[in-house]
């Protein structure tokens, strides 16, 4: 039942905000309550009950509750979370809280604005806790119209064009996804057909999907989810949309909503269609290298911070896909952690970008400069977020990328003597390993564009036009700090999350600490 409450909290906040009851305060409270409840549930979650080797069951998914909706086809609002889901809920609460806070002051009384934000949050939370294919999908789509409104009404620059593009593109992607999910559902024999994920896991483990066109279903799901995650070459909605979106919307969308696709791949596509996933690895690797290198290079070519961050967030999805494609628990754990890490870091970056845009009126790199002299706080925060984004150790992103690299590199084993790639003396790397190498170079690329942006915006000579800029007031600084603290906490001690999410990914829980090995 707690999970229903979790979904209802932001919805309730949204309704209250819509009715005009102190919109920002209500929204802050609702987000805080979501975050708080999420954390409480996370603390109460016991990963040791889960058996990583058997199909996920109610032991792994806790707080399970069910509410039949269309019983005849096995459709119901079934909820339940494992560590991964809880992590995502906490992420949604955290980013939502910060997003509401950084909303500009002139929106203070705009109930619809905050309601839209909370609808996105509610949709995300709902998707993350759903154990029903239908509602899993439906909750994600709840965010579609609010996003359209947020960008179209309160956006920047070419807001209307961007609103169209992001909405139509995502609607198309979602529909492809829906087709994929339906296909998956219908591939189960009629007598075990259900939307209940827990049951599907068990049926799939018993071989219910043998003979199903796994690869085709997987590819349809990949295309659908891929559009939502901005998989190359379906990514062009992202930079434009994020550049035009109001800051909080960009934070929520890039930070949380976009993660839905990856979450879905982890939750649905990979566990249910392992054979399909294996056969599709080659295609996926090609596309993700596009994310890493092509989009990375395109990010270098950007001349304004908003689109640069947009491209950057697209590029980092390449790592997430690499981890997924590895099919290894290590790599997929990396991806799972990256959901959290990237969510926080990109939210922080967009928040700061928005603050800079609101204060200076521009995001063009050549019009900015030397802001660190006038905005020390923002520049430090941006520095932290930038370091996180380019995968510096000490931040959660690094751990995620590290796991992704290890997972993807080791899966095909260069184990001499065990399995050796290629003939002769030359070393031949598997596609995944080539992906890892691209990813490693992507780390360099991301440093190139982020450092350049930092150099152009915060360092160097302060233009006369920007002499009067100031930092945000003390009371408005906590969102930035909160996001960065979150990143560093996980960066320093990744087991805070990893220990909880691992069982869901087929890994044994970490044994009790061993000192003095």
């Amino acid at each position: 039942m707690a999970l229903y409450l979790l979904i209802l909290l932001p919805l309730l906040g949204a309704v209250l905000a819509l009715l005009g009851v102190a919109p920002r305060k209500v929204s802050l409270l609702a987000s805080l309550a979501t975050l708080g409840l999420g954390l409480v549930l996370l603390l109460g979650y016991n990963p040791r009950l889960a058996d990583p080797l058997s199909a996920p069951s109610a032991a792994q998914f806790q707080y399970v509750a069910d509410l039949p909706v269309v019983p005849s086809i096995g459709l119901g609002l079934k909820v339940g979370v494992d560590g991964l889901g809880l992590m995502m809920v906490v992420l949604a609460g955290l980013v939502s809280l910060c997003a509401v806070q950084v909303a500009p002051a002139e929106r203070e009384e705009d109930g619809a604005y905050f309601a839209c934000l909370l609808f996105i949050t509610a949709g995300c939370v709902g998707a993350f806790v759903s154990l029903d294919l239908f509602f899993f999908y439906a909750f994600h789509e709840l965010a579609l119209i609010p996003t359209f409104l947020l960008i179209g009404i309160w956006g920047h620059g070419e807001r209307v064009a961007a609103a169209w593009k992001i909405t139509i593109y995502l609607a198309l992607g979602s529909f492809i996804l829906l087709i994929g999910l339906l296909w998956l559902y219908l591939s189960f024999p009629a007598e075990v057909r259900t939307f209940d994920l827990l049951k599907l896991y068990q049926f799939a483990e018993r071989g219910a999907l043998e003979g199903a066109p796994q690869k085709e279903i997987f590819l349809v799901l990949l295309a659908g989810f891929g559009v939502l995650i901005s998989l190359f070459p379906f990514h062009t909605w992202a930079p434009q949309g994020y550049a035009a979106a109001p800051t909080p919307a960009a934070m929520l969308h890039a930070g949380v909503l976009k993660k839905f696709g990856l979450f879905g791949l982890l939750r649905v596509a990979y566990p249910l269609l392992p054979e399909g996933a294996r056969e599709a690895t080659g295609i996926l690797v090609v596309l993700l290298i596009g994310n890493l290198l092509w989009v990375g290079l395109a990010a270098i070519a950007q001349r304004s911070l908003d689109s640069l961050l947009g491209y950057s967030s697209v590029m980092h999805m390449g790592y997430a896909f690499l981890g997924l494609a590895s099919l290894s628990p290590i790599g997929q754990s990396g991806t799972a952690l990256l959901l959290f890490a990237h969510g926080l870091s990109v939210a922080a970056l967009f928040a700061i970008m928005g603050e800079v845009r609101d204060r200076t009126g521009t995001t063009r790199l050549d019009e900015l400069g030397g802001l660190a002299q006038r905005m020390p706080f923002l520049s430090v925060c941006f520095g932290f977020a930038m370091f996180a984004s380019i995968g510096l150790p000490g931040f959660a992103n690094f751990v995620s990328e590290l796991l992704v690299f290890f997972g993807a590199f080791g899966v095909d084993g260069v184990h001499v003597g065990k399995r050796m790639a290629g003939d002769g003396l030359w070393i031949i790397f598997s596609p995944l390993q080539v992906g890892v190498i691209a990813g490693l170079w992507g780390v360099v690329i991301s440093a190139v564009y982020m450092l350049r942006a930092y150099r152009r915006i915060f360092w160097g000579v302060l233009p006369d036009a920007l002499r009067e800029q100031t930092d945000p007031p003390l009371a408005a600084r906590w969102p930035y700090a909160l996001l960065i603290v979150g990143l560093m906490a996980i960066g320093f001690w990744p087991r805070l999350l990893l220990d909880v999410i691992k069982p869901g990914l087929g890994v044994q829980p970490t044994p009790a600490a061993q000192a003095g090995r």
């Binding site: 080797l53 139509i168 062009t236 260069v414 003396l425 070393i427 440093a447 302060l462």
Partner: protein
Amino acid sequence: MLPWLVLLAPLVAAGVILLVTRGSRALSAWISVGAVAVSFVASVALFLGPDLRSSVDWLRFDVLEGISLAVPFGVTVDSLSKTMLLVVTGVGLLVHVYSLGYMHGDRGEARYFACLSLFMFSMLGIVLADNFVMMFIFWELVGASSYLLIGHWFERPSAAEASKKAFLMNRIGDFGFMFGILLIWGMFGTVVFADLPGGIERLIGGVDAMRLTDPVQAATLSKRLTSFLTLAVLGIFCGAVGKSAQMPLHTWLPDAMEGPTPVSALIHAATMVAAGVYMLVRVSFLLPFAPSAMTVIAWVGIITAFVAALMAVQQDDIKRVLAYSTLSQLGYMVSAVGLAASGAAMFHLFTHAFFKALLFLAAGSIIHGMHHEQDIWQMGGLKNKQVITFFTFLVGALALAGLPYLTSGFYSKDAILYAAAGKSIPIFVLGLITAFLTAFYMTRLFLAVFFGKPRSEKAKTAHESPLVMWLPLVILAVPSVIFGFPFITSAFQLDAGHHEAGAIPVPMLAALAFLLGVGNGLWIYARREHDPIRISLLARKFYFDEIYAGLVRVTQDLAARIAGFLDRYLIDGLLVRGASALTFGAGFVLRFFQVGSAQSYAMVFALGAVLLLWVALR
């Protein structure tokens, strides 16, 4: 718990400064100094104590099928790290103290000390790391703190660019490093240093066992093992190339002199850049299995040493001369590792840390006295105005140039030359020429700075630095002299042993090189007001910067532009917008059915019916 104290004290200091005391410059500075003092004392205690290891599970994945991953967060204290700890905390402490004076009154003093503490934490992490991943973590953190410190005066475009360049060059090196780590892990399933020798033995044992049953396969496997290891070692070496500024990734180090001088002394001379060498020494047990990689390492090192020395000859900025000399000395060390003389490399690292820190701090003192003038041809006659600095700089310069038998630099360089002489004559010859050049450019520098007439207003009004600044110089002068002596080397368990050099009289030749260098320097530069020789190829550093700028332009920037263009006009324009325009256009065309005339509707109606009937009755 002591190693953890060593490691974490500076981190705590950095955190406290950032979060609490950043408003108070003095307090921040003292917190930072206090932290490094704690680390130093604890290091001394560790040095006197036994070897130990301690670790906790940081990441651990026990996978049933496939390779498991375990990354402990651990520290290892052995003779190697003990020595390095003392160097790092010792020099670090002195530099911190020195900074109290040098950075006094700087607007960003608190930030400076926070970053310096962060650097100490990172550097100590590298020293103590017991596995590859942890080393990589601190490796990167060192790069980041170096980035922040080089960019301390971020409002200067040159500093901002230099810090960016340093970080990116390091990142390129780290690309190879991580790749090497992945390969090592892929081969042995572990990243812990202590477990690797066992892993190698297992593999080789396996191959050997196979020789009896399937010799052909065993031979292939053996060769394959070598090529994998070679690739891995080269990858790891890439990291060292970046961090230790070896060719061809050396160009960041001279630019890094944009940072405050104490930073140059600590990071870009004594410790961080030596981390590459330290790391190579740490993993030197891998090297014998990858002989061709060793050759590469030796040659890269010695070429760097030689080319950097050449470039140093024509530099006018006092810090840049020292920076190139650092490059050159690092080249020696790297080369030594490649020559299987990692003991000698470590020895030279050890001595170099002190005399190079001394030189930089002295240079800082000069710059401080010269009101931040760094051009040596604007100086002159400083020997009377900055007496302490003069003498201590002299000690440092002699140690660097390798005054035979009296300075530490001579002994350690000698050890490397011995190793070279025993392994490869071309490397040995290059090493000797480098030694000659070193003596030559240091003489040039020394004469231009301290002798002759003051050549500018600033030089005329130069003054000695305060106590906190000259005291570290004096303290550092002592080890610069004595740390090559046998009683010290044995105390630190350094390998000063003279490798088998055949019939070559190494010390004689080295002394000769020193004398020739100094003599030539005196001959050319005594009582000169300007530089009598101008070799623009050397002054412009072999045009490396220009070539790289061009290279980046034609590769990365061009590729970026193409990708950006195609992304915008091909993927987004043609495919996405094109599809949407096509759909929209189709809708627009379809509207022409809707001409408004009922009769045409009826026509379509009838034709539709006929079409369906045709399908039906076909």
